[in-house]
Amino acid sequence: MAAVSITPAPRITTLILQRKTLAIGLAVILAIALLALFAPLIAPYAPNKLSIVNRLKPPSATWLFGTDEFGRDIFSRTIYAGRLSLTVGAAATALAGVIGITLGIVAGFFRRADTVIARIVDAMMAFPDILLAIALVAALGPSLATVIVALGIVYAPRLARIVRASTLVIRELPYVEAARALGVPTWRIMTRHVLRNLVSPILVQATFIFAYAMLAEASLSFLGVGVSPEIPTWGTMIAAGRQYVGQADWMTIFPGVAIILSVLSLQLVGDGLRDLLDPRLRKDL
């Protein structure tokens, strides 16, 4: 009873609300993904169709989000841009996952590798993510692929840290020790016992990395050090609109809203997943 009186149980309404945010987040990000996937069917205009007579038109029934400096339809470009932004985010997350999980498990299992990996991970975290991404893209040469690789490398340490910490805990669990004592090979223990227990923290963290990667991609594209300015991504669209601030605000507003909606819904999903999968993690952030 003492426990009940001191740490009040979370209100049931709050719990439901948090599930509701998970549902809303999922619905929004799925809707954005579907819009992007079926862009050719949905977009009223081709994303690169020029129409100089119609340049810088404000939003109207004809051009839902207005047009840009070349008379291209912002709405069509926004949903096409979603394809790239989502792809970059997903691919970078997947790459970060492969690198981070591998490093994390190896560090968690082998003491000697741990000192090296932990040191590198700490040092990588000393670089602000966007700056490191910029430097990597500069070193690798700007292209879509290098942006993905750079972001994958930048976010891998976050996963590596979480995986390492969980692995250290899991490897001491009685049944894992028992498996080791029975002579089950280490790689088998890692894949069978450890990975399975890591699914939920990895899933939660990956959702957040997806969100951060999309933000970072937009920043790189905006700076002109990422994807080529000719390719419509939300970042390059905002960069183009920058010249017309005060004159054609819709050029910056709509792609920005698209970024916010995507990142927000991904964060909602991450939060919701965390509550759902592992209530113990609720307290961190």
Binding site: T14, G256, V263
Partner: protein, 313 residues
């Protein structure tokens, strides 16, 4: 306590050493010959060879690495290829706007995040708390450059309250230069308040249930004093950590925001260096910013000594 300081100092040096190595590797993995890239397509092989020799690129990697370390030990970050000045000078000339931008942003972020986070934890589960949680998540989803553009649209273009861009030139009075920093600092401050708010709320929630908070109440003091003196001081350590972290991240937020507002800061320098492939500048900026991060973290570790007697012991 001496042991604690020595430990942190060694940790800092170890991280810094790895940082230096990583920066060295990043710059060396660039495909193609940096000398050829710098000189452009019209360069003769002799020119390229001369530049390679000047940059030390003709020597084995291990030698280059040692040479690089030796340079750093003398505080030499090399020579910029395009600016015709040492990298250290280029960085120093651009430091002021970045420094003040970061400082003001962190002040704005803390001024929003600390009271809101504390109150939100205190009134957990209420409508206010839910609104704060939602706002924090929303703010964390806004790209800072986009928010900067929106602020320019509203406060600079429409209302004309603040300058649109720039830093007022090198001879502008200090106040004028500061007025150029208001909008970028607000943009960065709002975006980075999200993380601090969530952290403040979480660590306050932790300590508000602690036994000594109940003891404080049982002494008969008012709620404000219970929360601010007894609870908040205990929540301060994780909160300070995240503020320090945010300050370091702000330096990179500044990279983007400085571009939006055309502020002649370090971020702007980095972006133009990347576009021009001015490797020494990229390398120097990376090192300096990482060093700032590591130093801020070390400073926070030292602050713990003041706050927590258990560290002092």
């Amino acid at each position: 306590m001496t042991r604690y300081i020595l430990q942190r100092l060694l940790g800092m040096l170890a991280v810094m050493f790895t940082v230096v190595t990583i920066v060295f590797i990043i710059v060396r993995i660039a495909p193609g010959d940096p000398a050829a890239v710098m000189l452009g397509p019209d360069a003769t092989p002799a020119d390229i060879a001369a530049l390679r020799a000047r940059l030390g690129l003709d020597r084995p990697l291990a030698v280059q690495y040692l040479f690089f370390l030796g340079q750093l030990a003398r505080g030499d970050l090399g020579q910029s290829i395009f600016l015709d000045m040492p990298v250290t000078q280029a960085l120093a000339e651009r430091a002021e706007p970045t420094f003040f931008l970061t400082l003001f942003s962190i002040l704005i972020a803390s001024a929003i995040a600390l009271p809101v986070g504390i109150l939100s934890a205190y009134k957990r589960g209420t409508l206010f708390d839910q609104a704060v949680t939602t706002f924090a998540m929303f703010a964390a989803s806004i790209p800072s450059f986009w928010l900067g553009l929106v602020l320019i649209q509203v406060f600079a273009v429409r209302l004309g309250w603040f300058p649109v861009a720039g830093y007022g030139g090198p001879d502008a009075p200090f106040l004028t230069r500061l007025s150029h920093l208001v909008l970028p600092a607000v943009a960065l401050g709002i975006v980075s308040s999200a993380l601090i708010t969530r952290f403040t709320r979480a660590s306050m929630l932790d300590v508000l249930n602690d036994d000594y908070v109940r003891t404080a109440r049982s002494k008969g003091m008012g709620e404000f004093r219970v929360v601010m003196k007894h609870a908040f001081k205990n929540a301060l350590i994780p909160v300070l950590t995240v503020i320090g972290l945010t300050a370091a991240l702000l330096v990179s937020g500044a990279v983007v925001t400085e571009t939006v507002f055309s502020l002649p800061g370090i971020g702007n320098l980095v972006v133009s260096a990347v576009l021009r492939r001015d490797y020494p500048v990229i390398q120097g900026a990376l090192l300096v910013i990482a060093a700032i991060y590591v130093l801020i973290n070390f400073g926070i570790d030292m602050l713990y000594i003041l706050i927590d007697p258990r560290v002092r012991y």
